[in-house]
Symmetry: C2
DNA sequence: TTCATTACCGAACACCATGTTCGTCTTGTA
DNA sequence: TACAAGACGAACATGGTGTTCGGTAATGAA
């Protein structure tokens, strides 16, 4: 990839996240981004189709990092081991913490919808094969949705209360939403 | 209130909810609403400041109904009685069921954000004095947020799986998010 | 170093939805 | 019946969007 392209893309992302910490997503205009990134109007549109496209791209970049399977371990994760599960959850939270500069901005307002949606998709895949398959009158789909939302909302809450450590957040989550009985 | 005003307001709400079942909120233009409601442009703007204002008004109307304290009983509700709590939850779900024609439309897309936000405010107040004040290492605020989100997400899930009865949904919720230990 | 390629630039433009203005017509009510 | 209040629609200003086009500058491969 051309060095110019990389630099431009970089500066757009930087401008966007900077603006997200000042204004809410819908209040941000493409012109704002262009001005802050100090690039030409045409240039923006050669990189991204729309503002929404930019937002999605940002989310994708974040989750590619957060759910990167550092050692391929997560893929074959065994949810039957409680200690192992706690480690996985904490691991993901550590990754997320590295984006704490963007999270509050992106999660408040309408951009949060997009973020949470993609987040939940990833989580759904991750939790799909958890140990919580025990027989119960509660539908499987409800159960999965419940766990996914719990974790996503936990992260949202964390972004507003960032004084806690990943280990603490992990503990809060597992205490209120036990994956084991 | 003038009969003309009532009729106009009525037809705007009707047009809006009708459109919400066809398109997503942001795709709906004020012109769409005007055409569907068959009213003048000026008339719309004398009733509502903006499209957002209309959405908020709709949510307000719904929750005024759902959280109407039929007999003032809820106000003094005692969460320490499990049977009583289940009755209250089910009662709210029955009220919500009456709006099942709007819920799927309003909850999918960006309008869902507004709906969920106001919903959670109401729930926060309702759950604020629940029995879940037991000592624990989990922060009180996390706990409250957890319960509120759980219930709100449960309703969202219900709107996509409307074949269940209020009693069943109530049971799912209480099974996965016990308000008692 | 040369040179073709590729990215960046910015002014200008058409487009579309928004919200307002104004003069007129219609309806409800006192 | 009179008149206040609501409904009406055409027209307008505004502001953001996404595109076009002619030109400049940076890049990297030969």
């Amino acid at each position: 990839m051309d060095r110019r392209q990389r630099k431009t893309r970089e500066s757009i992302f930087r401008a966007f996240t900077e603006l997200l910490n000042k204004k809410t997503y819908t209040k941000i205009t493409v012109q704002d981004i262009i001005d802050t990134a100090d690039i030409g109007r045409t240039t923006f549109y050669t990189h991204f189709e729309t503002k929404d496209d930019l937002l999605k791209s940002l989310c994708t970049e974040i989750f590619e990092h957060v759910f990167s399977e550092d050692s391929g371990k997560e893929k074959t994760h065994d949810f039957s081991d409680e200690h192992d599960t706690r480690a996985l959850i904490t691991h993901i939270l550590y990754h997320l913490q590295e984006h704490m500069d963007v999270l509050p901005g992106i999660l408040s307002g309408e951009s949060g919808e997009v973020f949470m949606l993609t987040f939940k998709e990833h989580l759904k895949e991750l939790f799909a094969h958890s140990g919580k398959t025990r027989a119960s009158f509660v539908p499987q789909d409800y159960m999965l949705n419940h766990m996914v939302c719990d974790f996503a909302e936990t992260v949202k809450w964390w972004s507003k209360n960032p004084q806690y450590t990943p280990e603490e957040i992990s503990a809060f989550f597992l205490e209120t939403t036990p994956l084991f009985e």
